[in-house]
């Protein structure tokens, strides 16, 4: 049997304990780097075989067939997520060496990389698995490791941030577990494909089945906590601003995306498109928090002085765009939402890498620290401008493609208020991005603060790779769009 679908999950899982055995910052880093690159390569191979084969790639663990054993199931959506997560990991790791060496205690460095790999395993596992309980296990794996990763931040407040995330995350995970348990009680299976079939076969499901509705409620709220849907986002700004720079880059670009993936899987693949929209009005449930999130989180972002925190609030707003696309209940909107998932990983990855580079040189990322950086760190700040333009949605960047697709989907139904909110979000983004740009380019550097120079190449090259991706996918969005379209069709058609 072809081992390929298992590889992205297996590799980091095996490498993580090795990190603790090797001990030695550079060796551990090299090992992790090689591992993430291998993961990325295997994801690319998976994408290629899916592209040519067309159908989803199954893999039965231990050769136990589907309903009994655990199955890995890689379809278009999963491949897209695999590419995002492993791609971001592969870009972040070369970036990590200098940044981690500065921000993490030397004795914690092997531990740090081991945790990062476990987190990666968890995220990739969630995406690959075709089993509901397995999904929960991987979720806990990624969550627990990310609590520890956030707690490794330099400032003491990182600990409270990690604790806050731990509490919220655990509530979320527990809700998800209860939801899965309820589904199991009704169907007697945990395999996602099987679950979908049996739920569809429950006769009462067509007119409101109380247990199913309860399960749905627990699952949606639990996952919404993990994906930081407004107003369940309170853990996110603290976690992102106090975590080490590399962790913020990695989590911001991947973790919330995987949570959105879980929402899509549960709502569409398990419960089914008709059930969630016709019986449970998922559209209305998600619509208001999404719109409110876009506006309110963007407004809050404008008033932040810690720029990492500002970007964190912007992430909450951007998550609103993704859930908005889901709530509109059309194939075009769902496609837009999935494309935005991909594009947002690129832009936020780049922007948080800028934060890491500024942190590396200036020591903190308050608005005041950006004074004069336009001259001192020209490449870093140029990357910030381009990443910011992508966030705003200026044509020629990846963000424009998302905005275009979303507005188009909303216009199809003549939902003018939704169009208005989408564009309002862009305008608010102009304000909070330009605040930083003005400070960087027009405020002179304090005379006492000298010595700030351009970030080293090992930070700049990965950063510009992501910026380049932002521009590239603004001019040629064919393949993410095609994968997203394929995924949306499969999701809405049921598995």
């Amino acid at each position: 049997m072809n081992l390929l679908p298992l590889l992205p999950v297996l590799l980091p899982l095996l490498c993580a304990p090795l990190c603790l055995l090797v001990r030695g910052a550079t060796t551990v880093w090299a090992l992790t780097c090689a591992c993430t690159l291998a993961c990325f390569a295997s994801s690319l191979l998976l994408a290629q075989s899916l592209w040519h084969g067309g159908a989803a790639l199954p893999y039965a663990l231990g050769n136990w067939p589907a309903p009994w054993g655990i199955v890995y199931h890689i379809d278009a959506l999963a491949v897209l997520l695999l590419l995002i997560v492993t791609g971001i990991a592969a870009v972040t790791l070369p970036y990590a060496r200098r940044s981690v060496a500065q921000e993490i205690q030397p004795r914690d460095i092997p531990l740090f990389y081991a945790l990062l790999l476990i987190c990666l395993t968890g995220l990739l596992g969630i995406v690959s698995t075709g089993d509901a309980f397995n999904l929960y296990v991987f979720l806990e794996l990624s969550s627990l490791s990310s609590y520890a990763l956030i707690g490794l931040g330099q400032r003491r407040r990182a600990l409270t941030a990690a604790f806050q995330y731990l509490v919220m995350g655990t509530i979320g995970a527990t809700f998800i577990l209860i939801g899965i348990g309820l589904l199991y009680s009704q169907t007697g299976t945990l395999n996602i494909a099987d679950l979908a079939g049996r739920i569809a076969a429950i006769p009462e499901a067509a007119y409101g089945h109380r247990t199913l509705i309860t399960a749905f409620a627990f699952l949606t709220v639990g996952i919404s906590l993990k994906l930081a849907l407004f107003p369940l986002h309170l853990w996110l700004p603290n976690a992102y601003s106090y975590a080490p720079s590399v962790v913020t880059v990695f989590l911001a670009a991947t973790a919330t995306k995987v949570a959105v993936y879980m929402l899509l899987r549960v709502c569409f693949s398990v419960l089914g498109n008709r059930f969630v929209f016709e019986q449970l009005t998922l559209g209305k449930i998600l619509l208001l928090p999404s719109l409110a999130g876009i506006v309110i989180a963007s407004l809050v972002a404008i008033f932040q002085y810690d720029i990492k925190r500002m970007l964190a609030y912007s992430s909450v707003a951007q998550i609103g765009y993704m859930t908005l696309g889901i709530s509109l209940n059309s194939e075009a909107a769902l496609t837009a939402s999935i494309v935005h998932l991909f594009n947002h990983a690129l832009m936020k990855g780049a922007l948080f890498m800028v934060m890491g580079a500024v942190m590396y040189r200036a020591g903190s990322v308050y608005l005041n620290d950006f004074r004069g950086l336009g001259q001192r760190m020209p490449w870093t700040m140029a990357a910030f401008v381009l990443g910011g333009l992508s966030l705003i949605g200026v044509p020629g960047t990846a963000g424009f493609v998302s905005k275009w697709l979303l507005v188009q989907a909303a216009l199809q139904h003549r939902w003018w208020p939704v169009v208005l909110v989408i564009l309002l979000g862009s305008l608010l983004a102009v304000i909070y991005i330009w605040r930083v740009v003005e400070t960087a380019y027009f405020n002179p550097l304090h005379e006492i603060e000298h010595g700030t120079a351009e970030a080293p190449p090992s930070l700049l090259v990965p950063l510009w790779l992501l910026v380049g991706a932002n521009l590239y996918f603004g001019f040629d969005a064919a393949w993410p769009l095609q994968l997203a379209q394929q995924a949306a069709t499969v999701l809405r058609g049921g598995l």
């Binding site: 020629g396 275009w404 507005v407 188009q408 564009l423 862009s426 380019y441 064919a478």
Partner: protein, 488 residues
């Protein structure tokens, strides 16, 4: 060379020029040489494209297709060729002027200015040659972004706050209104390509039509319809050559060009004629003309007065295009050319006065005409063009515009035009009068003559262009005659 390659070169030459200018930042003479060389080769390319027999028949050149349904493509059409010619010709003249200005005033960051200038021209050419709405939007935004460093060139508080108005108004209007308008058009028409005579379905309802037209009229903030005109006077904090080329020619002309193009190639004369939407746009333009003229009258700062005059003159173009009769569409195209030549001369004169006499207020100009006769002669000629008197280019376009108004018997518009001409005279004639006929109040600290010769040369050239366009209006007219709505 075939037409598609020429179009591509029109974009690539200024963009490549920007790289060369940046590379030669250490050697000012070489850098300025690069600017002149780039500008001259761009002009040659545009002229080659203009004279190319197949220019208007060539199919669209597809730059890239981000995904099905969104395409970036270039296509030559008469109005775009006219705009490209004006922009590239005036860039060459402005380059000469800029060199004189920047050196005489010892401005800092000169390389950055030249680089952004070249990038802005590249975006302008992109707008002129855009083959569909998304391409237009792409280059429209690039123009805003590439001119932002020019507006904020000085880097002081005023510049930053002016830049904030500039970027804030232009980006929010385009992202908030123009983008949905484009996507909506794409959905209504099934295409976003510019087609002579329009692409929108003929059965589009009245309310939708009004809404869509308003989205375009205000979404294209560069056209500076009241109340979206505020960025224009604020952007006058930029160095004068920037104000001259960008805020008299490239940026504002890009605005009215986009609007005229949308009127003729997206809506189409058939759809709009005698609709409520048309009446609304006429009223908006007429209101802007009067309001901006009155505001101009109150300004003592010369550049701000010119800025408000620009706002009012832009609405002449919008008004002419919105009338949609053959004569008035000709007037719109002609006025784009006439106003460009006239306004750039006025700004050049303002910059020359600032450089030679360090004066920027109208009230300080007494007697200056005797010290700077060439500058003020150019100013006077350009003022005639603005008022619409012979023998200047503005007369020709106003003539066609009045024909259009009379043809449709819209007497209230004729009254607006008459009032505006009087107002134009009221704020331009006193300047010329002060300069030539009033005695100097106090002699300057250092006796001075004209500004450095590159500046005087440039402003003499543009002023003669104003006269040339009066005696030989054929080049713009021939192109204007090919526009949809003019040819039956």
């Amino acid at each position: 060379m075939d037409c598609a390659t020429l179009m591509l070169w029109c974009l690539l030459i200024p963009a490549g020029g920007a790289l060369l200018i940046a590379a030669s930042s250490q050697l000012p003479n070489l850098r300025e040489g690069m600017t002149l060389l780039t500008a001259a080769s761009l002009l040659a390319t545009v002229v080659a494209l203009l004279r190319h027999p197949q220019a208007l028949q060539t199919p669209a050149l597809i730059l890239t297709t981000p995904f099905g349904g969104l395409q970036f493509e270039l296509r030559a059409e008469p109005l775009g060729l006219l705009f490209a010619t004006i922009a590239s010709l005036l860039w060459l003249i402005t380059a000469v002027y800029t060199i004189g200005y920047m050196r005489a005033n010892h401005e800092s960051h000169q390389t950055r200015l030249y680089v952004c200038f070249a990038l802005a021209i590249s975006s302008t050419l992109g707008i002129a040659l855009a083959g569909n709405l998304p391409t237009l939007f792409l280059f429209y935004e690039l123009l805003t972004l590439s001119t932002y460093p020019l507006v904020t060139h000085k880097g002081d508080h005023d510049a930053v706050s002016g830049g904030r108005y500039y970027l804030g108004i232009l980006i929010s209007s385009s992202m908030g209104l123009l983008l949905p308008a484009i996507i909506w058009t794409n959905q209504l028409a099934g295409t976003s390509r510019f087609v002579a005579g329009g692409i929108l379905p003929a059965d589009l309802g009245g309310v939708s039509l009004v809404l869509l037209l308003l989205l375009y009229a205000f979404g294209i903030g560069k056209a500076a319809l009241v109340p979206l005109h505020r960025w224009l006077p604020e952007a006058m904090v930029a160095p004068t050559p920037v104000s001259a080329l960008l805020h008299a020619v490239a940026v504002v002309k890009a605005g009215v060009f986009c609007l005229v193009k949308v009127l003729l190639y997206v809506f189409g004369p058939q759809l709009l004629r005698d609709s409520a939407a048309q009446q609304l746009l006429l009223a908006l333009a007429a209101g802007t003309i009067l309001y901006a003229s009155l505001k101009a009258l109150q300004q003592d700062n010369l550049k701000r007065r010119l800025a408000y005059s620009t706002v009012s003159q832009l609405s002449y173009v919008i008004l002419a295009a919105a009338l949609l009769s053959p004569a008035s569409i000709r007037a719109a195209a002609l006025h784009i050319a006439a106003h460009a030549a006239g306004k750039i001369s006025l700004f050049f004169a303002a910059g020359a006065i600032y450089t030679a006499a360090h004066k920027s207020r109208v009230s300080e100009l007494d007697g200056l005409g005797r010290r700077m006769p060439l500058t003020f002669a150019a100013f006077a000629i350009a003022s005639l063009s603005m008022i619409g008197l012979p023998p200047a280019a503005g007369f020709v376009s106003k003539w066609y515009l009045l024909q259009g108004v009379a043809g449709q018997q819209l007497w209230w518009l004729a009254a607006v035009l008459l009032a505006s001409s009087l107002l134009n005279a009221a704020y331009f004639v006193p300047i010329v009068h002060r300069a030539f006929w009033r005695p100097e109040t106090k002699p300057p600290h250092q006796p001075h003559g004209e500004a450095p010769w590159p500046m005087t040369l440039a402003l003499s050239l543009t002023a003669s262009l104003c006269l040339l366009l009066f005696f030989w209006p054929n080049l713009p007219l021939e192109l204007a005659n090919l526009l949809p709505g003019v040819t039956p």
